[in-house]
């Protein structure tokens, strides 16, 4: 049959086309769909990034506020390089006051440091026999102090000495030391 070669040529071309479709065009099409997916993802990501960049001024202003807050707090803390130094400073500060007020200190001790995520809590304990007015003055002094000093523990016991009404007291004073890495952060 003389038409046979034509028939087989057509079949051959169709087979070649299918082969090309599978090996070449389909690859291209797959690549296109892959790129489309990636482009879609990047578009979403870019939109998110743009939104984030837009929030920069707001973050900056918030950061400034927070830094100011931290600065204020920092101003109320004892300046020191480590928690023990803070304890020393606290001790000195309290002793100065007690001396000025002529309050007798029976004994004192530095308590353990309590560590939290951001800072150390530095405790200092004073035992003293004091009259009521002076005790009130101590608390007033602490309230008005520039330093951030708190009292986590108090023990007050009424006692009489030389016909005087006195208070036997044990007061734990506490302040904080911000950890070094957070000091760096805020700088």
């Amino acid at each position: 049959m003389e038409n046979k070669w034509k028939f087989y040529t057509i079949i051959g071309l169709i087979v070649l086309s299918l082969f090309l479709y599978k090996k070449v065009y389909l690859n291209y099409f797959n690549n296109v769909s892959f790129l489309k997916t990636k482009i879609k993802r990047y578009k979403k990501l870019n939109a998110k990034l743009e939104e984030k960049i837009k929030t920069y001024p707001k973050i900056k202003s918030q950061l400034a506020i927070e830094e100011k807050k931290l600065k204020n707090i920092k101003n109320r803390l004892f300046k020191a390089h480590n928690p023990n130094e803070v304890l020393e400073n606290l001790q000195k500060y309290l002793f100065d006051y007690f001396q000025k007020q002529d309050i007798n200190i029976n004994n004192y001790r530095q308590l353990r440091l309590i560590e939290s995520k951001f800072f150390y809590r530095c405790r200092f304990e004073i035992n003293s026999i004091i009259d009521f007015n002076k005790l009130v003055n101590v608390f007033e002094f602490l309230d008005n102090s520039n330093y951030l000093i708190k009292i986590p523990e108090i023990y007050i016991y009424y006692t009489r000495r030389r016909k005087e009404s006195l208070l036997r007291t044990r007061i734990v004073f506490e302040t904080i030391y911000i950890k070094e890495d957070f000091n760096e952060t805020k700088n």
Partner: protein, 363 residues
């Protein structure tokens, strides 16, 4: 594949064109499976017409041309122009006597059908049956005759006695034909059992279609391929460009967003730090305020006071421990103040009490 020739007996009985398709459907396997090399159609005398006329012309060349024109002019059936005809000239006293032989319309249509079945380019020999009959037992004449046909590819008619072909041609005669023509004949065929398979017919039709549409199909396939290639390539290049562009934007944005992320991170840490310090600063007992409130209570003597682990404990004397309890309950920074010991009275009628309360932060 075996090459053979198809010998078709075309006699009067089977010349009806209407029935040919149905008969062709049942062609023997041998033909179906083979490829035809030559096709010889034997035409019966019923389908060959004779026309005689005289021409008063002296020159043979003039007479030949005139005879042909005259034949076409005299053709009794005006519905078709015979393709296969032969004119024999015989010299007379005043010119030439012409004898024209031609095929019937039906016979020509049959030949057309055979052409359309795919034998158009085959050598088709059309032999009148009676001629073979005449030359029976004279194989050399048959040879001459066939040579003539090969050369001219037309028919030579010469009418003599007529008889049925089957009865005339013996097996030996057929063998002689085969030998002379160097072909193989299918001997049992006449138009009655000359039935082509439908598939064969269809195949031929489809091959005919392929023949017609070969170049358009090839061009179509190439165009489709080119279209696919160019489209896919174009799309690929286009999206690669878009991808590169968008990735570049992403890199630029990432550079810009880095300080934002850093600032955000710092802000988060600072906020957390400030918040924890804030909570810390609130986490203590407002002692002065508490003393002020206690000083408002009359007939109260506090023996001792503890604050430890967020718990307040007071030991003392008062004229009414319940009254003191009411005062303490009003304080926001104390939760559930309660008398934890038995209340006993001293000689002066004061109540000894022991009160306990939980400290609430941030109030």
């Amino acid at each position: 594949m075996k090459n053979f020739s198809l010998l078709i007996f075309l006699d009067n009985e089977n010349i009806k064109i209407d029935n040919i398709d149905t008969k062709i459907d049942e062609l023997p396997e041998k033909i179906k499976e083979s490829s035809l090399k030559k096709l010889i159609i034997l035409i019966s005398d019923w389908n060959i017409y004779k026309l005689e006329f005289d021409l008063k012309l002296k020159k043979l060349s003039e007479a030949k041309k005139a005879a042909e024109n005259h034949f076409l002019y005299l053709n009794p059936d005006s519905s078709y122009n015979p393709k296969f005809f032969n004119i024999a000239l015989k010299k007379t006293d005043d010119g030439y006597h012409a004898t024209a032989f031609y095929l019937s319309k039906e016979a020509e249509e049959f030949i057309d059908i055979i052409h359309n079945l795919g034998f158009k380019n085959k050598i088709i020999h059309i032999l009148p049956i009676f001629e073979i009959y005449k030359n029976i037992n004279k194989t050399y004449r048959i040879k001459d005759y066939i040579t003539t046909i090969k050369d001219n590819n037309v028919i030579t008619f010469n009418i003599k006695d007529i008889d049925s072909f089957k009865n005339i041609l013996s097996d030996d005669d057929l063998k002689n034909i085969e030998k002379e023509m160097n072909i193989e004949l299918i001997k049992d065929l006449n138009i009655k059992n000359l039935n082509f398979e439908k598939d064969f017919l269809k195949k031929n039709k489809s091959f005919e279609l392929i023949n017609k549409l070969f170049y358009p199909i090839i061009i179509g396939i190439i165009i489709i391929n080119l279209a696919f290639f160019s489209y896919s390539k174009y799309e690929n290049v286009k999206f690669k460009k878009i991808y590169k562009y968008i990735k570049k934007i992403n890199v630029n944005l990432s550079k810009k967003v880095d300080p934002v992320i850093k600032a955000e991170d710092t802000l988060k840490k600072l906020a957390e730090l400030n918040n924890s310090i804030n909570i810390y600063s609130k986490q203590f007992f407002p002692f002065l305020n508490f003393l002020k409130e206690l000083s408002k209570v009359e007939h109260l003597f506090i023996n001792s006071l503890y604050i430890k682990n967020d718990t307040l404990k007071i030991y003392g004397k008062t004229d009414s421990a319940l009254k003191l309890l009411e005062v303490l309950k009003k304080l926001k920074y104390l939760k559930d103040p309660k008398i934890v010991s038995n209340i006993s009275r001293d000689s002066q009628g004061n109540e000894r009490f022991q009160i306990e309360a939980k400290i609430v932060y941030g109030k």
